[in-house]
């Protein structure tokens, strides 16, 4: 059972990652705040559960989904798959249609499984007293990431400069901020950063690398980056759109009643 020894090492390395955080928290608690931590036992149990949970989570992804997903990203971007064995064919951007669909689908599905997004959604649901749904937020963010990664894949295929897209995106975000309900703005900006961690980054990085090494004229080092930037920008817009849409439906049903 080598998966169990792998699990052990993954947990050890997770503990290693958490040590600086624990040191900062307990250091400040003891040296600056000089107060005992309430419910210390429960909190330590919580930390241990988080560590074990992340260990299992990462090891499971590493054993099951990452190898297959990465292999898939390679195979889908392979010229022989895209040109159907016709090596003479000049590839246009539309020949990569399965790649865009894969990018969209993998962006959506990995975001739904992202633990840090789940954490923020739970918190937002508590703070908004239930008016922001856990699933509503997660699906809004996941759609944003899906559109972002899909468009990012198109950008690598066509080779247009990254900053055009990002700066245009910024302009849209700023305009949308003017019209979005005030309570959602901070949360929407946050959701850009939380979407891309443990599950999304490895698979998306494999896709970017696969595309940029196989599309003629692209270099892995220069064009392989940028998908994560797309995935952190589009959720801002989709979450604000989600709030605007809920506000609109709420208004409409109110008008119908009166």
């Amino acid at each position: 059972m080598h998966i169990l020894t792998d699990l052990f090492f993954t947990i050890i390395s997770t503990i290693w990652d958490v040590l600086p955080i624990a040191a900062i928290i307990f250091g400040f608690q003891l040296a600056v705040l000089r107060k005992p931590i309430p419910n210390l036992k429960k909190i330590i149990t919580g930390f241990i559960l988080v560590l074990l949970g992340l260990g299992f989570f990462l090891e499971g992804l590493e054993a099951a989904l990452f190898p297959l997903g990465k292999l898939m990203a390679q195979q889908l971007t392979d010229p022989s798959f895209i040109a159907h064995g016709d090596s003479e064919k000049v590839l246009g951007w539309w020949d990569y249609k399965w790649v865009y669909l894969f990018a969209f689908a993998i962006g959506f599905s990995t975001t739904i499984a992202e633990p840090s997004l789940l954490a923020v959604a739970i918190k937002a649901n508590q703070v908004s007293a239930g008016s922001i749904g856990i699933w509503g937020l997660r699906i809004a963010v996941a759609l944003g990431v899906a559109i972002g990664i899909g468009l990012g894949a198109y950008r690598i295929v066509t080779g247009t400069p990254l900053y055009w897209y990002i700066i245009t995106g910024y302009v849209f975000v700023v305009i949308q901020t003017w019209y979005a309900p005030r309570m959602i703005i901070a949360l929407a900006y946050d959701s850009g950063g939380v979407t891309t961690s443990t599950v999304t980054v490895p698979l998306v990085a494999a896709l970017g690398l696969g595309l940029s090494t196989t599309v003629p004229g692209r270099s892995a080092l220069l064009d392989g980056f940028g998908l994560i930037a797309f995935a952190s920008l589009f959720p801002i817009m989709s979450v604000m759109a989600y709030a605007q849409f809920s506000e609109w439906t709420a208004k409409r049903s109110k008008n119908q009643k009166t």
């Binding site: 400040f28 559960l49 099951a64 195979q75």
Partner: protein, 243 residues
């Protein structure tokens, strides 16, 4: 029977979170690539691990990470020392980022790009020192971001003005930064915030906003992560210009 049923239902929740990935990978493997699923047993064990892991994580979140973040926010607010709160904010941002595995990977990639673009010499030592410098740069920028974000919560400034200033900063830096660094810089914003940092920082922000009078946890409490994903872009492009 009750705790048993609770465990089963939270395991089912985690399975449901995972279902979209399983469907997507299954569909592309069987229908698009038309290949069988290799190592079926190993994949099944892996999925069980992921489901257990996600369940434990969510429980630990509610027991450990959320309460400690909020408790510390309340204690700092009642102690009333803004100085120490800001020191804590910086330390938390710096400390959680400097050891972040995703950042280490990105920094190593960036060093390769810099070496191939003749920005630094292409040997082991030059690349290692470039990558280390980049890591420290990003960690400082995240520490700075959390510090600014906490200060904003205390002052109650609307987040959009600060973010727009940040966007303008990114655009200006993009004009002057070397072409090779732009892609990495843009990506570095997204990778810095890890699965443990996010809940902790969110709880800190929400806790602060709910313990300071006149602040609304919804409009003021969120936003720390947004700063933490914006400043690294500016700082990394700055690093690319200086080194």
């Amino acid at each position: 029977m009750k705790p048993f049923r609770a465990i089963v239902s939270s395991l089912l929740d985690s399975l449901r979170d995972l279902l979209p990935i399983i469907l997507v990978i299954g569909f592309f493997q069987l229908a698009v690539l038309q290949q069988p699923i290799p190592n079926f047993g190993e994949i099944a064990i892996g999925i069980v691990f992921v489901v257990i892991g996600l369940t434990l994580f969510v429980h630990g979140l509610n027991m450990g990470l959320f309460p400690i973040g909020e408790t510390m926010a309340y204690s700092f607010a009642s102690k009333g020392s803004i100085f120490w709160l800001l020191v804590f904010a910086f330390a938390l941002g710096f400390g959680t980022t400097v050891a972040e595995p995703a950042l280490i990977a990105v920094a190593d990639e960036a060093a390769k790009v810099a070496a191939s673009g003749n920005m630094i010499e292409d040997d082991e030592k030059a690349r290692a020192s470039y990558a280390f410098g980049l890591r420290i740069t990003v960690a400082v920028s995240v520490g700075f971001a959390i510090l600014i974000g906490v200060f904003r919560i205390i002052k109650g400034w609307p987040i959009q003005y600060l973010i727009i200033v940040g966007y303008i900063g990114v655009v200006i830096m993009t004009i002057f930064a070397p072409q090779e660094i732009i892609g990495i810089a843009y990506d570095s914003g997204g990778v810095t915030t890890s699965t443990i940092t996010v809940p902790l920082v969110t709880a800190l922000g929400v806790g602060l906003a709910s313990s300071i009078k006149g602040r609304n946890p919804m409009t003021d409490g969120f936003g720390l992560i947004a700063f933490a994903s914006l400043t690294p872009m500016i700082f990394v492009m700055g690093y690319g210009m200086v080194v």
